[in-house]
């Protein structure tokens, strides 16, 4: 069957509808889900289809996330809506000291099939407390899997896999991508966690990225092509498990890598990738591994400042040019 062009929002609600259809232990818990199908409309239609399994809660994030944990431990497959990724801060104990550790510290007795779904990122001018990308905390928390998709087809296939997965998965959905459209097969399908996707093949430099920055890297690659630089763009899609093979193959070929993410630079996941490339691909690297992330400040409100803080296509292009120029033979 032919793919349709649908938005990430639609991909989300389709993925969940399909999983809820097959498995009645799947449900969604969070604030303000029912009236408008979630605050971004991402669950549109679901409250009508599954009136008892889309559950509005009080503003009580520890009880919401803990609610997911307790339900997962006792036979359910909850999807927890964090409202904004920034609010993970209000339930970090539940996420880090409980969700991530329960299976391990009880010696593998329990399983926690749970998706913590969190819309992250900037772009709606929502300032410091509603714009963060916090994936790097969770990659640094053993016991969690971390998904950061970009295009609608990936969103759908990965969300379905995350729901099926027996471990807790933190699923970041960039909020500037809800309306982003792309081709999605009408047939049900799964994309396994831990498999990166080469969104554009190229020979001169590897751009490693994920989530919204995938689009900016693809745009940058287009521009770079005009200057004779052929960039390969890897969308990691999941950060844990990490598909380092895909990175290694690409960098072995291009001998030159650059990481782009929206999270602020220092301590971001880009550091982890750069460190691993430096460690494992030392001999084939022809230039320093470059990193681009947001500037190290909270997100400012005023659009002129936000745009300065968040990596733009031009920043990516400039940095890629510089890196390629630096390549030794």
């Amino acid at each position: 069957m032919k793919s349709r062009y649908i938005s990430c929002s639609k991909a989300i609600s389709e993925a969940i509808a399909e999983e809820m259809e097959q498995d009645e232990t799947v449900f969604i818990l969070g604030e303000d889900l029912v009236a408008h199908g979630g605050i971004f409309g991402q669950f549109s239609g679901l409250p009508k289809l599954f009136p008892d399994r889309i559950i509005d809660t009080p503003i009580s994030e520890t009880a919401i996330v803990g609610g997911g944990i307790g339900a997962a431990l006792t036979g359910m497959r909850p999807i927890i809506d964090m409202h904004f990724a920034d609010f993970v801060t209000t339930a970090m104990d539940e996420i880090v000291n409980q969700m991530a550790k329960i299976r391990y510290m009880f010696g593998g007795q329990a399983k926690l099939p749970l998706v913590l779904w969190a819309p992250d990122g900037s772009g709606i001018r929502a300032a410091a407390q509603h714009s963060q990308c916090l994936e790097s905390w969770f990659v640094h928390t053993p016991g969690l899997k971390v998904v950061v998709p970009s295009e609608p087809a990936d969103v759908k296939g990965l969300l379905k896999s995350a729901i099926r997965d027996d471990d807790p998965v933190v699923f970041f959905q960039h909020k500037s991508l809800f309306a982003q459209r792309g081709p999605v097969s009408p047939e049900p399908y799964y994309i396994p966690l831990g498999v990166a996707d080469v969104k554009r093949p190229g020979a001169h430099i590897t751009l490693i990225t994920y989530s919204r920055m995938t689009y900016r890297c693809l745009e940058a690659a287009q521009e770079l092509a005009g200057q004779g630089i052929d960039a390969e763009v890897i969308d990691l899609r999941t950060l844990k498990p990490l598909d380092f093979n895909c990175i290694a193959q690409s960098v072995s070929k291009t001998r030159c890598a650059m990481i782009v993410h929206e999270a602020c630079l220092t301590g971001g996941f880009g550091a982890e990738i750069a460190a691993r490339i430096g460690e494992e691909l030392f001999d084939c690297l022809a230039a320093p591994v470059a990193r681009i992330g947001a500037k190290d400040v909270p997100m400012p409100f005023s659009p002129v400042m936000e745009d300065f803080v968040v990596p733009q296509v031009a920043d990516i292009v400039a940095c890629a040019e510089k890196t390629v120029k630096r390549k030794r033979l």
Binding site: V34, P58, A126, A127, Q129, F301, S302, V304
Partner: protein, 355 residues
Amino acid sequence: MPTKTLLAQQAASLTDLSIYRHSGHMHAHTKPALHINARQKRAILKRMVLIRVFEEKAGDLFQQKLIPGFIHLSIGQEASTVGSCSALRPDDYIISTHRGHAHILAKGADPKYMYAELFGKAAGYCKGKGGSMHIADFSLGILGANGVVGGGFPIMTGAGLSIKLRKTDQVGMVFFGDGASNRGTFHEAANMAAVFKLPIVFVCENNYYASTSRADKMVSGPSIAARACAYGMPGHFVDGSNVLDVLGAVQEAVDHARSGNGPSLIETSTYRYRGHFEGDKQKYRTAEEIHAHKLHRDPIDRFEKLLLIEGTLTREDIDAVWEGVNARIDEAIRFGMEAPLPQPEDALKDLFVNL
């Protein structure tokens, strides 16, 4: 909370609030502030009108896409906010919420720097870094609005502790919504304020909804005011559409705090006329419900009627208040519009004091 039906035909009964009162659980009803003089009453009206006009014009400007991001307006809640802040001294502290314009104006902020901030201009209260949800003016004791629901409680605990340690007689007031009353931060701050006898007034503006969710479905117990009993602090429930009722109750709580007797909890029953944020589709309520509130419980309308009946102000006086406010707001908007944008690199400033 028992379910409250809020249809139009019941709106009349809303004015006497009988559906809210649950005897035995609440502190005895406080006295309205009837003692205040004409000058003060005019000032109160002016403040309410200032908020109303500020907010309505902010809504228009948002509609015209002149304000980036999103804004939450307080139209309909003016009596609750102005009544509360009228009990404070300039050196007292407040902490506000995501729906913060009204609190900040009521504590004395200048609308022109607020608009400049809403527009993301360098001349704004926060140099364009904060926006609608993050306005503060420390010189006026406004310790900030907060984009995290319930984020203000713990911070106010610290301000209260600081007052106690510095041995001043300031008071701190933390505003919050019905939805915020379910956050754990409320509980932790309320208990700590109670055991340390901190000079804090907790003002819950119960506007029936937290985003799309009705308070009567999300808040357990007989009322939010009744939660005071868990902490052994006074809890007052008050008609938030009647500014003098609010002022009376809050004044009592402020006096209680200032004289070293510790915190109180006030719940005001109020209502927001606009959506949760501008652009909200509002599928969770009916136009009739909104209409009934506007008709029967409009705080400005009620106060104007009282002032007219009392003879404190004439219709002309009232018109003059509106005109004055309108002129001030228009001037403030002009200031904000004409102010320059920040430089992109300004984003790198103001992070650390020492670096």
